[in-house]
Symmetry: C2
Subunit: 416 residues, 2 copies
């Protein structure tokens, strides 16, 4: 059977799916000697391998029957309770019944899309926004509309404009956003929650980096602000009434290879997500769930997260210190308070995508910013790029920014 | 936000999704003292916990960087090569590039549905068929049409009739089918592959139980028969030309809790599935993939599979030995050569679903057969039930069939 014959059988939505540009660039940057700011990977030397090894030994020592058998779609109850307790300390009165364990946050986005999106539905996103989110939403044939951001995060009046006649939900990363590294200011968080209420549009709050703050003070999540303004909870559902669906992950605090994420939401949403997940993969690896729980249950994160913050703070600081020394005049960049990414804007109309080939030849890689814009009729900003600082050691970051500075300078010269 | 407000936002397909009846019955049967033939779980005492513990120790001893980091969507290359080599020994000349690792076979069905199914598309299934497959296909708003089966498996002329004006694919479990325990005879396999070719309809061959054969001889898979009849393979794709998409799993040979399955197919299909999987969950737990590979790579299955066969053979034999002693006259049942299930047909119009409550009160549970029929306008067979024999020890199976025999006898008396 030929490729053409197969493609005649594929669903209509398949023609709209596209391979993530980032993952294709990943391949390009596997060349030895290249310093890659293109990925979004945690520092592997921070992975808690010893704690996981000890936990695996304990879980499997008496047969491991529970850790290896089929399990429930909702997820391992003690892990769900752990997450609910964590949320409660953050002002979100969740119980275990508000939590669904997912195969990474990516699956969280996919399940939410499956439950909410019909072809032609509108999703409102930030401009720029997380490219994998765009990929998921468009794979369900939704249209995405972007709302402008600045250093204070997304501009709420632009979100309202993007909602237009209506939208299924708004997708927001409030903290150290991927790709721009920006954090939504407190007053905007309040405005955003009020907007959701006024227009009846739920918020999907994707918050993978929350624990990884290196400076500034924790801000209340959109879900916390939303539930605080509501009257006493409806019977048995402590998030009943909330318009926010919150996504979290262990990919940044433990290890991404385990694929452990979660969704917190009111019961009517969790119920539908469970049905969708049952069809999607029955349940997330119960072995990995129990492993993570075994590691975190006795306060491990209370020392591990500060260690991660310290590690990544040094890397962020290395990048932010090198930038003004190495970048030509006119280059601007964000100063993230946490997370993994800095967003760079080049002067004038210098095209970051066109510059990438030269950059790779000079031994430095990044992701061109155009990847992070919804196809909503407005042009993306071609003079932008995303730089990752979590993966490389500080000295490597310094060297990488030097290389990138030279490439940009040369690009500017050639342009003149 | 109320449940009604939420449901107004759900996608149209959500209204068609239904909770798997089997999983709801699972909950019912967790009552202590009940013997459950309702599940489909492997015997947990067979899980290779020691081998997995040793493997986990090795993987994590020097930082486990690879096992814990983000990885490729396609899956761990050595595990894909292992599966390809296994297929090659079964007459399928696959290479690693024909294999995609999935988060259990369930995800395989979901991804195939996402790639192929538009609303209103037709999928041809067996009658009865695996209920979770029906659930996935209908969640993509496909319609399923059932083709009758007998002790030799699905009747190929009925499949052709069910295709009608066209179908996106046929979904077939060739070996020890769930739920009926039947195996597709060799001549029918050949006819089925010829039918696929003649009508241009691909076959999705789901074969989770292949290794678990307790009597009779291995038969070539549909994919093996399909590739054998084709001319030399197309450039670089050793399954190029094949109309069969094959699903396999480690859930039955290692442990289901790890959620490790795979799809084998020609490159054009694998490429689309990879795009779909990237959006679905980025990749399957690389830790679990490496763990499974570490256990199986040096011939472990060559002793473990015979041990599983011996364990389950005793359980099947216990059920088949008890049935003629305990069941009233007129009850019929299949005699599976492998797998996990026996299919029982009650006399006349005795309704297995209606009998379930009495059965649970008598301390025995099963799945009513109606769960396993496509909603294609033809009535399901209400006098059928699926019995699982993999989970309980032989003595418990004997006791369970005694209880079930009494319940059926009483049901027949009450009917008179």
């Amino acid at each position: 059977m030929s490729a053409v014959e197969w493609s005649n059988l594929f669903a209509r939505r398949v023609s709209r799916a596209r391979v993530s540009a980032i993952r294709e660039i990943f391949k390009l940057t596997q060349v030895p000697g290249i310093i890659s700011f293109a990925g979004g990977m945690p520092a592997p030397e921070t992975f808690p391998a010893d704690a996981l090894r000890a936990a695996a030994g304990r879980l499997l020592q008496d047969g491991g029957e529970r850790a290896l058998q089929y399990s429930t779609t909702e997820g391992f109850v003690p892990l769900r309770s752990f997450i609910a307790a964590q949320l409660s300390r953050q002002g979100i009165p969740a119980t275990e019944s508000n939590i669904l364990i997912t195969t990474g946050s990516q699956q969280g986005m996919d399940l939410i899309s499956k439950v909410f999106l019909d072809p032609g539905d509108r999703v409102v996103v930030e401009r720029p926004t997380f490219s994998a989110a765009l990929q998921v939403f468009t794979s369900y044939q939704a249209t995405c509309a972007g709302a402008d951001t600045d250093e204070q995060g997304v501009i709420v009046s632009r979100l309202e404009a993007a909602i237009g006649a209506g939208a299924k939900f708004m997708y927001i990363q409030p903290n150290f956003q991927n790709p721009a590294g920006i954090t939504l200011a407190l007053d905007r968080r309040r405005q955003l929650v009020a907007l959701a209420e006024r227009r009846g549009v739920p918020i999907v709050e994707d918050d993978p980096y929350r624990e990884l703050r290196y400076s500034g003070e924790d801000l209340p999540s959109l879900m916390a602000l939303d539930v605080q303004q509501r009257p006493a909870t409806s019977a048995g559902d402590s998030l009943g009434g909330s318009r926010v669906i919150r996504l979290g992950t262990f990919s940044k605090t433990l290890a991404p290879g385990l694929r452990l994420g979660w969704i917190a939401a009111a019961h009517p949403v969790i119920s539908q997500l469970v049905i969708a997940k049952q069809a999607a993969d029955l349940h997330t690896s119960i072995f990995d769930q129990m492993l993570a729980h075994e590691v975190v249950k006795d306060g491990f994160l209370e020392t591990h997260v500060p260690y991660l913050q310290q590690t990544y703070r040094l890397r962020r600081d290395a990048m932010l210190a090198a930038a003004p020394r190495c970048f030509p005049q006119g280059v601007r960049w964000t100063e993230p308070q946490g997370g993994f990414f800095v967003w760079v804007t080049l002067p004038g109309n210098l095209d970051a995508a066109a510059l990438l080939e030269q950059a790779v030849r000079a031994g430095i890689a990044y992701v061109p910013g155009v990847t992070f814009f919804a196809e909503d009729g407005r042009p993306p900003l071609p003079n932008t790029m995303r730089l990752n600082f979590s993966f490389c050691a500080p000295a490597v970051i310094e060297e990488g920014i030097q290389r990138l500075g030279r490439v940009v300078a040369q690009g500017l010269e050639e342009q003149e």
